[in-house]
């Protein structure tokens, strides 16, 4: 190629700037098409087209690329392969299996590694669920196979297809690309259904109907379940400066929340954290199924030093995998750690494209991308008529711990649950460092009915009382900060003591303690009950002019602070004893 030719026969690289590559004078490509760049076939995606120039972002290091290197289109948008073998696997941002890459290129990831996303040679024990003559719609289940010990993989007709079954294979062992069912659509075209399908990552998978968010995602974390609950199919943001425990919270949620499947996206975060997740989750046994946590977990690891364009894609890859399992009728929770890194990847690429920046250099389309992302969450009736959900929990890493920066602000607009992490709580090692004054959940009213039905009216009553005590304490602390706590009247001192018991005994939770790491809702309720019982009783005694110092000397507040350790999760009857002890200790004071 000598530059004077206007329309080259093959498309070749013209310019290179970081992960952005341009092609001149071509009409071959379509927007968002996946392409292979250069001799080593690096994966890329078309992100801009005009009549002079096509712009491509490359998902791998571009060192060594030359003008004149070939670019080959694939004719389809960036997509992922969906099929059995996803669970208990670890992928990079564009669904390349990292274990397989390790076998090819060793401990360091080399470029252009061509591996299939899923193992093509593994046999799956397939049970066919349809017979010849059945009419299948998109989304219907045509076969199943056990994927892990606890997850049954349900093969669903791609949402874009429908037709009459013309042939089926017998039950048995099949590989990923084997055809097990064929269908003929209305136009008489035959389609072969294998064990896998492809789906473009930037398109939401369709569902029949969206259902209201009326079932909570139970996390076993007191401050979340009780004070700021999230619904199945809901969205939550965990913003916090570094060291406030975003990742720790995400890990706790991934371990304990009652979703069927967890998709954990490590987006631009630390490599050691991913190896920690791998280590911990394979050792940790899920109490419900008695199987390792990895049996229900998919990991997507695009660490901060891996190519930035793939980081941008990793979020969508994770979401698409989550939606695929949702369509089988599972409740899926996706942890995105951290969405700020994803937004920064957007900014970085936008900068390379020399787009006009909006706030702090972020592109003007940041809010619309964020809203698109969070709107893919939801509890739905799937195309096959069962119920599934995708819950999105995104960590946000605000620059300079300043919640007014664009990513936090925009995330706040599109999520309904906001767990604000607080530096001063983290400094005092109060974990989870969720600030009860700045956080909120919009799911209260949606979930109230569920709580009432399953835990009785008391639960909500207790929660409201606890919340109001904490608010009262916060107001009193303003005064204490100025003049000290000694001058307060005893009833206000009681509020402060009780709030302390709530903070230390209830809100604070020890992720490393075998009982405290996951607390059932029933115990949460009884803990609140015990605290409020002491508060109400003490209030009456103080009204009878008995000084609060007498109550604090009974050691009851210390017992409340330690009840989370002293009372095991399976011995909740011990709370009766605790309440009886409170009564008898206080009775001594009045006598």
């Amino acid at each position: 190629m000598n530059g004077s030719v206007n329309l080259p026969v093959n498309d070749v690289i013209y310019g290179i700037n970081g992960p952005v590559v341009t092609v001149r004078d071509t009409r071959t490509f379509s927007m968002m098409e996946m392409v292979y760049v250069g001799e080593s076939r690096l994966v890329g995606e078309v992100i801009g087209i005009n009549d002079k120039m096509t712009t491509i972002q490359v998902y791998e290091e571009t060192t060594g690329l030359k003008p004149g290197d070939p670019i080959v289109g694939t004719g389809s948008p960036m997509n992922v392969l969906l099929g059995p073998g996803i669970i208990d696997n670890i992928f990079d941002g564009i669904e390349r299996p990292l274990k397989a890459i390790e076998e090819i290129s060793g401990s360091f990831i080399s470029r252009g590694a061509a591996v299939s996303s899923l193992d093509l040679n593994r046999y799956w024990n397939v049970k066919i669920k349809v017979k010849v003559g059945d009419v299948l719609e998109g989304g219907q289940i045509y076969a199943t196979c056990p994927e892990t010990a606890i997850i049954e993989h349900r093969f669903i007709v791609p949402p874009t297809l429908s037709g009459t079954v013309t042939s089926v294979q017998p039950n048995g062992k099949y590989k990923l690309m084997d055809t097990i069912v064929t269908i003929k659509d209305e136009k008489g075209v035959e389609h072969e259904l294998t064990l896998c399908q492809k789906w473009p990552i930037r398109n939401a998978r369709p569902c029949k109907e969206r259902l209201p968010a009326t079932i909570p995602l139970i996390t076993g974390q007191r401050v979340m379940d009780t004070m700021f609950p999230i619904a199945k199919g809901g969205t939550a943001a965990i913003p916090g400066g570094f060291g406030t425990g975003k990742t720790m919270n995400q890990h706790q949620l991934a371990k304990w929340c009652d979703a069927d499947i967890i998709v954990y996206v490590g987006c631009g975060e630390r490599g050691n954290e991913m190896s920690q997740v791998l280590d911990e989750f394979s050792e940790l046994i899920d109490p419900k199924s008695n199987r390792p946590m990895t049996d229900r977990t998919v990991l997507i690891a695009n660490t901060s030093n891996m190519p930035v364009a793939a980081r941008e894609a990793s979020i969508y890859t994770g979401l698409t995998l989550a939606e695929y399992y949702r369509d089988m009728g599972y409740h899926v929770a996706i942890m995105a750690d951290s969405t700020s890194r994803w937004a920064e990847a957007l900014r970085e690429i936008s900068g390379r494209l020399e787009e006009m920046p909006a706030e702090e250099g972020f592109p003007a389309y940041l809010p619309s991308r964020l809203s698109e992302f969070y709107e893919r969450a939801g509890r739905v009736e799937t195309l096959c008529g069962s119920e599934g959900s995708v819950t999105i929990i995104g960590a946000v890493s605000p620059q300079g711990s300043d919640f007014s920066e664009p990513v936090t602000q925009n995330t706040k607009r599109f999520t309904r649950c906001f767990w604000a992490l607080d530096k001063s709580l983290a400094y005092a090692r109060h974990y989870p460092a969720i600030n009860w004054m700045n956080s909120y959940s919009e799911y209260f009213t949606d979930l109230d009915a569920w709580y009432r039905e399953n835990l009785g009216d008391d639960f909500i009553k207790y929660r409201n009382k606890i919340t109001s005590l904490l608010h009262e304490e916060s107001n009193l602390m303003e005064i204490v900060k100025l003049i000290g706590s000694d001058v307060l009247p005893d009833d206000q001192k009681l509020v402060i003591e009780t709030a302390k018991a709530i903070r230390v005994g209830f809100l604070q939770q020890n992720a490393f303690h075998k009982d405290d790491t996951f607390v059932p809702l029933e115990k949460q309720k009884l803990m609140m009950k015990a605290i409020l019982h002491l508060y109400n009783k003490s209030k009456r005694i103080i009204a009878a002019a008995i000084p609060i110092s007498g109550i604090t000397q009974t050691g009851l507040f210390e017992r409340l602070a330690k009840m989370k350790y002293d009372i095991p999760n399976d011995k909740l009857e011990m709370f009766d004893q605790l309440i009886a002890d409170i009564d008898s200790s206080l009775a001594k004071l009045t006598n």
């Binding site: 890459i101 290129s105 401990s107 060291g243 030093n305």
Partner: protein, 478 residues
């Protein structure tokens, strides 16, 4: 066929633009010969058809539009590596400057490295005993970790780094496997010299690889310095199976060099003028710490950065904190009060410590003790701010106890000698003794069995004399 391209089309800061170049590849190295016979080196940072943009490492001073001849080297920037690099001194761009001649390479490696596969990483669990109470007890350094020191101009971060190197080395039983890679970016000549002398005095100089880019050296070279250093460190760790401690100072100068380069390239700035890719760029350095399967070596990083105006929310410390596994924050008030090392305990943190301490590593009570010390010291801050309003006299008895605890904590626990090497038992016992100055009911992070074992209820037995704690240790043993 080797082509020399005569002249340049444009000069802008440290960048030159050449036209009509054939066959250039992205990030390829170029040699630039000036008419006076001197050579400069550069790297291609942007290509548009036949127009290429080259960053010149040594700067563009005295380059004119037609006094240069540029030759493409057809390879990316590589560093010559061999075990012989230990004890050598290199420039920021990896050229030997100690007058001992070139390194005979066993291997050449691209200085950008390649990302470590997360699957191949070994999760770091072995703790490094630094002999410094605050670090060992409250923000334990783990082998394979990246733990930066957030400091400010004029504070004793260099002394602390040297002390860590000296004492960490002593505790290492596989002594021959230990080495240090030192990368100086934009530091003053005196500082580089201080490190060299200190390494010499502690007898490790033959195990140190130095990459020096001083404050008056070209900034493009500065952006290469940590990459060269980490390439050397990875080689020594993963191919020679050594435990490598990488000290990089000062990361703020590095980031500023990056900003200077970015703005001359005309890129859209992010916060405080730093380029939008600062996070990814810093991550590509810090993430090169760790351990991998198939090798017994490790890369542990201690980057040092000075926070401009002591502001921890400045982009450089902020983004660093998001990438590294914790941080050691130094505090000017403690420094002013004469305490060394002036570690500000509350904002400091080690993310990896929870899995590298406790039974089998340090001692079973370590985590609980650390939590309680953090919580109690946080209470001290509340008491102090109250005291500054209403006066210390007016505080409640409990708050007064906290005030006293705070003082003792800083004086005996935080403060320790530059040459003082405390064992982990000494540090932990000292922590318990300090907690024992508080009422037992205040210790709500520790369960009763630990309190029964370690809480000293007899105030007569809580004695602090001198900070060595040796005498006190004997008293603790029942």
């Amino acid at each position: 066929m080797i082509i020399d391209y005569v002249g340049v089309k444009e000069i802008n800061g440290s960048l030159i633009v050449l036209d009509n170049v054939e066959g250039a590849s992205y990030e390829e190295m170029v040699d630039i010969r000036l008419d006076n016979g001197t050579y400069r080196h550069g790297r291609i940072v942007q290509i548009e058809g036949k127009r290429i943009v080259v960053q010149v490492f040594e700067g563009t001073k005295s380059i004119s539009l037609d006094n240069t001849r540029t030759r493409l080297k057809a390879k990316p920037m590589e560093l010559a590596l061999s075990p012989e690099i230990m004890g050598r001194v290199f420039s920021g761009a990896g050229v030997p400057i100690d007058g001992l001649g070139d390194v005979y390479p066993v291997k050449k490696a691209n200085i950008n490295g390649t990302p470590m596969n997360p699957v191949s990483r070994i999760y770091p669990r072995n703790y490094i005993n630094t002999g410094i109470s605050t670090i060992d007890t409250l923000m334990t350094l783990i082998r394979g970790q990246k733990l930066p020191i957030f400091s400010g101009s004029g504070m004793k971060h260099n002394e602390l780094a040297v002390q860590i190197v000296r004492q960490a080395k002593i505790s290492d039983d596989e002594d021959n496997n230990f080495c240090v890679v030192f990368a100086a970016m934009g530091v003053k000549n005196d500082v580089a010299d201080y490190f060299r002398r200190s390494f010499d005095q502690s007898g490790v100089l033959s195990r140190v690889v130095m990459f020096l880019n001083l404050a008056n050296d070209p900034i493009i070279e500065r952006t290469l310095t940590p990459r060269c250093a980490l390439t050397a460190a990875e080689y020594l760790a993963f191919e020679c199976n050594m435990h490598v401690l990488v000290i990089m100072t000062d990361m703020t100068s590095y980031a500023e060099a990056l900003r200077e380069f970015s703005s001359s390239k005309g890129e859209i700035p992010g916060r405080k003028g730093f380029p939008g890719y600062l996070y990814s760029d810093l991550a590509s350095l810090y993430e090169r710490a760790g351990m991998v399967k198939g090798s017994t070596g490790s890369v542990t990083q201690i980057p040092i950065l000075t926070m401009p105006n002591d502001d921890i929310t400045h982009p450089v410390p902020d983004l660093t904190g998001y990438i590294t596994e914790g941080q050691i924050v130094l505090d000017r008030a403690l420094e002013g009060a004469g305490f060394y090392p002036p570690v500000s305990v509350l904002p400091s943190l080690s993310r990896l410590m929870k899995d590298g301490i406790g039974e089998g590593y340090t001692r079973a009570d370590h985590q609980a003790l650390a939590n309680q010390l953090f919580a109690s010291y946080a209470r001290v801050q509340d008491a102090r701010s109250l005291a500054s309003v209403i006066g210390e006299e007016e505080l409640s008895p409990v708050d007064k106890k906290y005030m006293q605890f705070g003082k003792l904590f800083e004086q005996y626990f935080v403060n320790q000698g530059y040459d003082e090497n405390r064992t982990i038992e000494q540090s932990l016992d000292l922590g318990w003794k300090l907690l024992s100055t508080l009422p037992r009911t205040e210790l709500d992070r520790v369960d009763d069995t630990l309190l029964d074992r370690y809480y000293i209820s007899d105030p007569e037995r809580i004695v602090f004399d001198g900070s060595d704690g040796e005498e006190n240790k004997n008293e603790d043993e029942d």
